[in-house]
């Protein structure tokens, strides 16, 4: 009886499983097969003998990592920068998307949406150059304003205490418009009749946003937040690398810049792999537990 039930399930839903085949094969070949490369983290990579022929060194790379005084600073900086990115950078596109959603003039909405996403296409090299000029203590616009008000010039990019704020502001500047797209797409799924009946009930604009639009995109918000948590130790390399200098290392040195120096500059490939593996494990543990918590609390989750 049970066996036939199972068989019936498979026959009935065979297509669903057939649909899954190409995607799963893809993941297996292009994502899981290369994953065996993480063994580099436990080996001393020798160029001639290749990955498999190199000698095992066990957990030596991880001991080095946890013994390094830099590790704790890098960890703290990465986490703090991520928290800034989540606290300021995460809500920004939601707010802008809500604002755009309230625009009644279609042409205005479309044009402003298009303008908002322009900075996404300007590479960090160019944007960083613009920022350095903007914030220049001698010739920058910002300091012209400050000095014209009678204060001394501020050396923005040389003060560790400003670094996170500058990076997060720059990221919002570059990505906020791009980030709205996903929420605007989610908002298209909201039933328009909800707004109509709310209007009849006399709800204000802000009430309609609060009680209809925000719950309508809540799933998307939760999922994006969960994914961001999984990448909590990824802050983005280029913007930090282009804007930091020895004076701001104290707050600016993050995992990406650390891995860049040890991997590409010092050529310690297995150590760099070990650092990457550490980041992945942290991210995975976080995303699994956060997903569990989100499912229990809100009923919304990735899986």
């Amino acid at each position: 009886m049970q066996a036939t039930g199972k068989l019936q399930y498979w026959i009935r839903h065979r297509w669903l499983y057939i649909f899954l085949i190409p995607g799963l094969i893809y993941l297996l070949v292009f994502k899981y097969v290369p994953m065996f490369g993480v063994v580099i983290a436990f080996k001393e990579l020798n160029l001639i003998r290749g990955i498999w022929g190199s000698d095992w060194i066990g957990l030596a790379n991880f001991t080095t990592l946890f013994d390094s005084p830099h590790f704790y600073r890098v960890l703290r900086n990465s986490l703090l920068l991520s928290i800034y990115q989540i606290v300021w950078g995460f809500p920004a596109p939601i707010i802008v998307a809500l604002m755009l959603n309230e625009v009644r003039q279609m042409a205005f909405k479309r044009i402003s949406q298009t303008i908002l996403y322009l900075p996404h296409f300007i590479s960090w090299v160019v944007l960083a150059g613009i920022l350095i000029n903007f914030l220049s203590p001698s010739s920058g616009l910002v300091n012209h304003l400050i000095t014209s008000m009678g204060y001394g010039p501020v050396r923005f990019l040389m003060e560790p205490s400003y670094f996170r704020s500058i990076i997060v502001s720059a990221e919002i500047w570059k990505e906020v418009g791009w980030g709205t797209i996903i929420y605007l797409a989610a908002m298209t799924g909201i039933d328009p009749t909800l707004y109509e009946s709310a209007t009849i009930d006399g709800a204000s604009r802000l009430q309609r946003i609060w009680y209809i639009t925000i719950p309508g995109i809540a799933t998307t918000v939760v999922i994006l937040l969960l994914l961001k948590l999984g990448n909590i130790l990824d802050n983005g390399f280029e913007q930090v690398f282009l804007l930091y200098n020895p004076l701001t290392y104290e707050t600016a040195d993050i995992f990406e810049t650390y891995t860049y120096r040890i991997g590409l500059q010092d050529g310690r490939l297995s150590y760099a792999t070990a650092v990457g593996l550490f980041k992945s494990i942290v991210g995975f543990v976080l995303i699994v537990s956060a997903n569990y918590a989100a499912r229990k609390i809100s009923g919304k989750s990735i899986w």
């Binding site: 020798n46 022929g53 350095i132």
Partner: protein, 522 residues
């Protein structure tokens, strides 16, 4: 057939399908050398018109353009004909050279001749230690031009294992003691006269920086100029404004103390390096340095010099005319000249960075004809090759008029100037298309910077102690502290502390190993 078999085995090896023992790697190398001899003998037996069989040589290089420009093709055509070789260039994107180099080494798909960015670069050292690169000593006898035009110190720097084996041919760069380009029109405006030989004392130099900062050298009535324009180098560090002038000449015989050989930077008994730091700190604190210096890269610093924000830059003398031309586009008044700064004894000398190399050509174990591969570089350094490298090709880069080369504007040749150079030929770096009186002027400065160069005794040796993780990690603390001292956020005495920590983090072993090495070379 045998070759094919070996190649397949090689692929299998790097694909990670086979686990080979350490000794077989060594044997492989020996086999190669022996085989090559045989191949050469064979080739000689089948000798063609010019004495050898045509061979194909694969070269992996880092150029700013992926394709050879049509203008420089005649050089390589001539080379191929002369040496009866077929050159096959692999030129990865410049922004991805390091990645492709690393991957080609790890995967075993390397060319016969491979360019490495520096002899101290980890990819080069790993390639030597892991047996990817072969020693070239035995071929050098037959390479007279390479021998004739390479600094001795470069060969020593390329004895990567310090056992007499040389692991590459340097892309030689002129070793010199650079001075500073300076706004001559500003000097006139603030009423400073510089002697004919362009040499000034440290105090006179400071005076120039001060007047450039405070005496409105551009006469626009605004306090918007600075004396010195510095920048963050490729390691994100500011170079000290003056260094050798205070007696910092790298590793030298010490006048006593714990070690026989010492460099001021690591010398706890001398104040020389602290004076180097103190000078730069003074300049920053007094506001003589463009305050953007700690944030911008070299190119931006050049732009700001052209813009008239800073009036003095550390620069190769051969670039002076280019800077003047660029500056004149913004401000026709711009005149650029050159300055050398004497040390406190009134002498002019300084260390060249590095070892007269600007990258290395390594011959890999994949090369079947190492000798003929190296002959490619040798030919480019011969009188015929060098003439084309240095001056370009008649009809392509210039036309002869009355026995003078008249250069054609805007002919790009991204390859020819980035393969080899002759030692001490500073003239190479002065564009032959500049007006001849300007070239003459710059050549004098360049020659002066070449004749006043001193070499540090370390000869590019990297003590094994520097590979310790704690030592490598400490570099960041070092960079931070030094920068903070120079910019004035920390007192100069913070350097004492830093140095103590450095010795504790492996510096002691570093200095000991360096001493052992230098003693062995003396």
């Amino acid at each position: 057939m045998i070759e094919k078999g070996r190649r397949t085995a090689g692929i299998g090896l790097v694909a990670g399908m086979l686990v080979l023992s350490a000794c077989s790697g060594g044997n492989n190398g020996n086999d190669k050398v022996g085989d090559t001899g045989g191949a050469e003998a064979n080739a000689a037996a089948n000798a063609g018109a010019n004495g050898s069989e045509q061979v194909s040589i694969k070269i992996m290089a880092n150029f700013s353009a992926a394709d050879m420009a049509a203008s420089e093709k005649p050089i390589f055509d001539r080379l191929e004909e002369e040496l009866n070789v077929k050159l096959e260039f692999i030129v990865p994107p410049a922004t991805g050279y390091k990645e492709q180099l690393q991957l080609s080494l790890v995967s075993g798909d390397y060319a016969d001749l491979v360019f490495f960015p520096s002899e101290t670069d980890e990819s080069f050292i790993n390639a030597v230690n892991d047996g990817v690169l072969v020693p070239i000593n035995e071929y050098l006898d037959e390479l007279p031009n390479i021998q004739a035009h390479t600094y001795d110190i470069s060969w020593e720097a390329l004895e990567t294992k310090r056992d007499g084996d040389i692991y590459g041919v340097p892309r030689t760069s002129v070793a010199r003691n650079d001075g500073f380009i300076v706004r001559e029109d500003w000097l006139d405006n603030v009423g400073i006269e510089v002697p004919e030989n362009r040499e000034v004392t440290i105090d006179q130099f400071t005076d120039i920086l001060r007047k450039f900062t405070f005496d409105d050298p551009d006469g626009n009535g605004k306090d918007d100029t600075y004396g010195f324009g510095a920048f963050l180098n490729g390691s994100k560090l500011i170079d000290p404004i003056l260094s050798s002038q205070f007696g910092n000449l790298g590793w030298q015989k010490s006048d006593g103390g714990e070690f026989d050989f010492m460099t001021p930077m690591y010398d706890r008994t001398s104040d020389v390096y602290k004076e180097v730091l103190a000078y730069t700190q003074m300049a920053f604190k007094e506001g003589l340095v463009d305050p953007d210096s700690a944030v911008i890269d070299r190119n931006t610093s050049i732009d700001r010099f052209k813009r008239g924000i800073s009036g003095v830059r550390y620069e190769f003398a051969g670039n002076a005319y280019g800077a003047e031309k660029g500056g004149k586009e913004l401000n026709p008044e711009t005149e650029i000249s050159y300055l050398f700064i004497q040390d406190r004894e009134g002498e002019l000398k300084g260390v060249s960075y590095g070892t007269g190399t600007w990258g290395v050509w390594g011959v890999t174990a994949a090369a079947e004809h190492p000798q003929r591969t190296l002959e490619v570089l040798d030919w480019l350094l011969s009188d015929e090759g060098w003439d084309m490298i240095k001056f370009g090709v008649e009809g392509q880069h210039f036309n002869m008029e009355d026995g003078q080369r008249v250069y054609i504007d805007d002919v790009e040749s991204p390859w020819r100037k980035n393969i080899v150079r002759r030692a001490n030929d500073g003239d190479f770096f002065i564009s032959p298309s500049h007006p001849s009186e300007e070239r003459e002027k710059m050549r004098k400065w360049v020659d002066r910077s070449i004749e006043t160069v001193e070499f540090s005794l370390d000869q590019g040796f990297i003590p094994p102690a520097s590979k310790e993780p704690s030592f490598q990690d400490f570099k960041l603390i070092w960079d931070e502290t030094i920068t903070k001292i120079m910019i004035g956020e920390l007192p100069v005495d913070a350097f004492d502390d830093l140095l103590d920590q450095w010795y504790a983090k492996g510096g002691q072993a570093y200095v000991e190993q360096m001493n052992e090495y230098i003693a062995g070379t003396q």
